[in-house]
């Protein structure tokens, strides 16, 4: 499509943009993927367009899975995903990437909050094992000894706990269950799953559905992006010896301190979050979401466009925009440097 169209199919960069001699980037670029990134991607695309009026970037929030699928099939030139590409996906992506490789670039870090609605209780504190007990159905009353032990000062009612989980398959559930299985393996035995492992119970579709379900009940508890907690109570989670409230800072720190996944290609940054870290102030119940790009594109225009966009996304400005719009945690300096290195490697097919 010509540049007159507001948007078009992925990456058909206009011919004059190649060397970006004018200093601005132009062309059309489509991405798709995780809905967790939707608010942030909204801010990035809009800001990027404002900076480069000749460019047109769109993002369809269709879910991580669909986003990766579309990326692999060549439907979109970049994807947003709550999960790094799996090795078998990497193989499939080789064709789209002109024989090169796909890269995961962490761009969006968001703390996950344990949210609850319980009249009269403002400062709920929970240890991971208690959370796991609640969500696996072993703890059913708010005045259960385990909760009382975490909250010696609170006035806990004799009320049933209604745990609320996500009814859709989601990266948030994946990170939440991963956290539980690492920090409370005895209480949480279902392991890391994106789809809630047990039947029944209260649930909600998407973050909004979950939040409204928690709001609609009494004695309900759930988990959601910290930025979406709204009016709900947010529990402090016991990390080491401290009870820590979710915060952007703590989340960023936890990611910074986590190791990279081994055996990945050069430039492919998959963070293996260390859920067990206990340093003061870290909050390892966190979601890392990636921007997935190729390292090789079919033409220079697309390569420039993706490069320009990705650079903006991880830039200080971009991260700040996301923080304002989506409440995410800005990337730490170290991560940003690595990410920039990866982005710099993006090129057109020789």
């Amino acid at each position: 499509g010509g540049s007159g169209d507001p948007a078009a199919n992925g990456g058909s960069g206009s011919s004059d943009s190649g060397s970006s001699a004018s200093g601005t980037i132009s062309g059309q670029l489509a991405g798709a993927g995780a809905s967790s990134q939707e608010a942030a991607q909204g801010a990035w695309t809009q800001n990027f367009i404002a900076l480069n009026p000749e460019a047109q970037v769109t993002y369809d929030s269709v879910g991580s899975g669909k986003g990766r699928d579309q990326f692999i099939s060549g439907g979109v030139k970049f994807a947003g995903s709550d999960e790094a590409m799996k090795p078998e996906d990497m193989e499939k992506a080789a064709e789209t990437c002109q024989g090169g490789t796909a890269m995961d670039i962490p761009v969006y870090i968001s703390p996950i909050a344990v949210v609850y609605k319980l009249d009269g209780v403002d400062n709920l504190q929970l240890s991971p094992a208690t959370v796991a007990g609640i969500f696996s159905g072993q703890i059913t009353k708010w005045n259960d000894p385990a909760i009382v032990a975490d909250n010696p000062d609170a006035n806990l009612p004799d009320k049933a706990i209604t745990p609320v989980h996500r009814s859709d398959k989601s990266g948030t559930t994946g990170n939440f269950t991963h956290f539980l299985s690492e920090t409370a393996p005895e209480a949480w035995t279902a392991g890391e799953v994106e789809e809630w492992p047990t039947d029944g119970g209260q649930s909600g579709d998407g973050t909004s559905g979950l939040v409204s379900t928690v709001e609609g009940g009494d004695g309900t508890i759930g988990y959601a992006d910290f930025s979406k907690a709204g009016n709900l109570g947010v529990a402090k989670i016991k990390i080491g010896e401290e009870y820590v409230a979710p915060s952007a800072d703590g989340a960023a720190k936890a990611v910074e301190a986590s190791p990279r996944e081994e055996g990945r290609e050069e430039g492919d940054i998959a963070v293996e979050i260390d859920r067990k870290q206990t340093d003061s102030g870290v909050y390892p119940l966190v979601l890392v979401s990636y921007l997935i790009t190729c390292d090789t594109y079919e033409d220079q225009a697309t390569a420039d466009l993706v490069k320009g966009y990705a650079s903006y996304v991880i830039s200080e400005d971009g991260q700040k925009a996301a923080e304002e719009a989506a409440g995410s945690a800005p990337l730490t300096e170290g991560l940003r440097t690595d990410a920039q290195k990866s982005i710099d490697s993006i090129k057109a097919k020789a």
Binding site: A7, E38, A39, G42, Q46, T207, S227, E324, G327
Partner: protein
């Protein structure tokens, strides 16, 4: 025959006088009286239980009235009138019951949607540069997108649906046509059960295969996916309407030497036009709020795009859906600057929900207008009974 039928049906003694008091129709205020009695009784019962509320009185009062009104009428007017009264009450009750969701839904949407609807620029602007909790943004692009996609869906499905209905009623009467007709009727029924998301997946697969462009997302794809959902509604209800045109009229037309096709166009369709407009309006209403297929086929775009065959498009249902999914906005700072216009806006946590409700209100209003237009059409074209 031990007894002539006349003996029990027509024996003069068995005939009551017309004004007989044993069975007579009481004036309407008896119904009002029993109604009042029921309401009072309901109030007393609820008061005794300590659960007095207006809704409770209405519901319990209605239920009690079903019994009391029936019993009273049974005693004073006899079985037949009692049954008649009872059914009338049920019918009125059904209507009242249907008003509950209708009124509450409209109220909910109006109360939550109206404030944002009247915000400056909401109806005329788009979402360019609107990020986070920015207290700005409009839906003009989505309104236009919805109208375009629905219009094209209708352009595809109304002729197909109408011609199919014509085929079923006018042609599928004998021989192989009848067999084909039965098959099609059945398939149309099955088609009503296609989940909208499957229609979306199908539209996606169809266009991707045909254009061999895996990234294709255009308005026309949405129109095709929607027409898959719309066609069965059009066929079924217009078939019903066309069937109701009396055979007499067709015969009168044939006898005047009018060919079959002109008879269908000028007599059958003309006579059924009121019903047909209702069918089409219903079908449009059926699809205009579909989210899932559009999400998969037309994508999303914060700007206006009127080109059906190139580029993504925003539509109201997907807009509502994505705003709802965005949920609570983040307001780390009091103001946000639109990067494109450079204008500073306040930040509002609930802005996404506000926009969703307001867009829903607009969607409902669009369908209302469509309904009014359809009604005007049927009013001006309906058979003039003159009675």
């Amino acid at each position: 025959m031990s007894e002539t039928p006349a003996a029990h049906t027509a024996a003069p003694a068995a005939r009551a006088r017309i004004d007989t008091t044993s069975e007579r129709h009481l004036p309407w205020y008896h119904l009002a009286l029993t109604g009042l009695a029921s309401a009072v009784l309901a109030a007393i019962i609820l008061l005794a239980l300590g659960k007095l509320s207006i809704a409770g009185v209405v519901v319990l009062g209605y239920l009690l009235h079903l019994i009391i009104g029936f019993a009273y009428s049974r005693v004073r007017e006899g079985r037949r009138w009692a049954t008649d009264r009872f059914v009338s009450l049920l019918v009125f009750g059904a209507f009242g019951l249907a008003l509950i969701p209708l009124v509450s839904l409209l109220m909910e949407v109006i109360v939550r949607g109206a404030p944002r609807l009247v915000a400056p620029g909401f109806l005329t602007g788009d979402m360019a540069g609107v990020i986070g909790g920015m207290d700005a943004g409009g839906i003009w692009h989505a309104i236009v997108g919805t109208l375009l996609v629905t219009f094209w869906a209708s352009v595809i499905s109304v002729p197909i649906g109408l011609f199919t209905a014509i085929f079923l009623v006018e042609y599928a009467r004998t021989g192989w046509m009848k067999v084909l007709g039965k098959g099609i009727t059945f398939l149309v029924d099955v088609m009503t059960g296609i989940p909208s998301i499957v229609a979306g997946l199908f539209g996606l697969a169809l266009f991707v295969t045909v254009t061999s462009n895996p990234g294709i997302r255009i308005g026309m794809m949405g129109a095709v996916a929607l027409s898959l959902l719309m066609i069965p509604t059009v066929v079924r209800s217009s078939e019903e309407m066309i069937r109701l045109v009396p055979m007499d009229l067709r015969e009168a037309s044939y006898a005047l030497g009018v060919p079959k096709w002109l008879t269908i166009v000028r007599v059958v369709l003309r006579t059924a036009i009121a019903g047909l407009t209702t069918s089409v309006t219903l079908a449009v209403a059926r699809v205009i709020g579909e989210t899932a297929p559009l999400l998969l086929t037309v994508g999303a775009l914060p700007l206006l795009n009127t080109n059906m065959v190139s580029g993504r498009m925003q539509t109201l249902p997907t807009f509502i859906n994505s705003q709802y999914k965005l949920g609570n906005a983040v307001c780390n700072s009091d103001t946000l600057t639109n990067p494109i216009t450079g204008i500073e806006h306040a930040c509002s946590v609930a802005i996404n929900f506000d926009r969703a409700w307001a867009a829903a209100l607009v969607l409902i209003m669009i369908v209302m207008v469509l309904n009014i237009v359809a009604r005007l059409v049927s009013y001006f074209f309906a058979p003039k009974s003159g009675r």
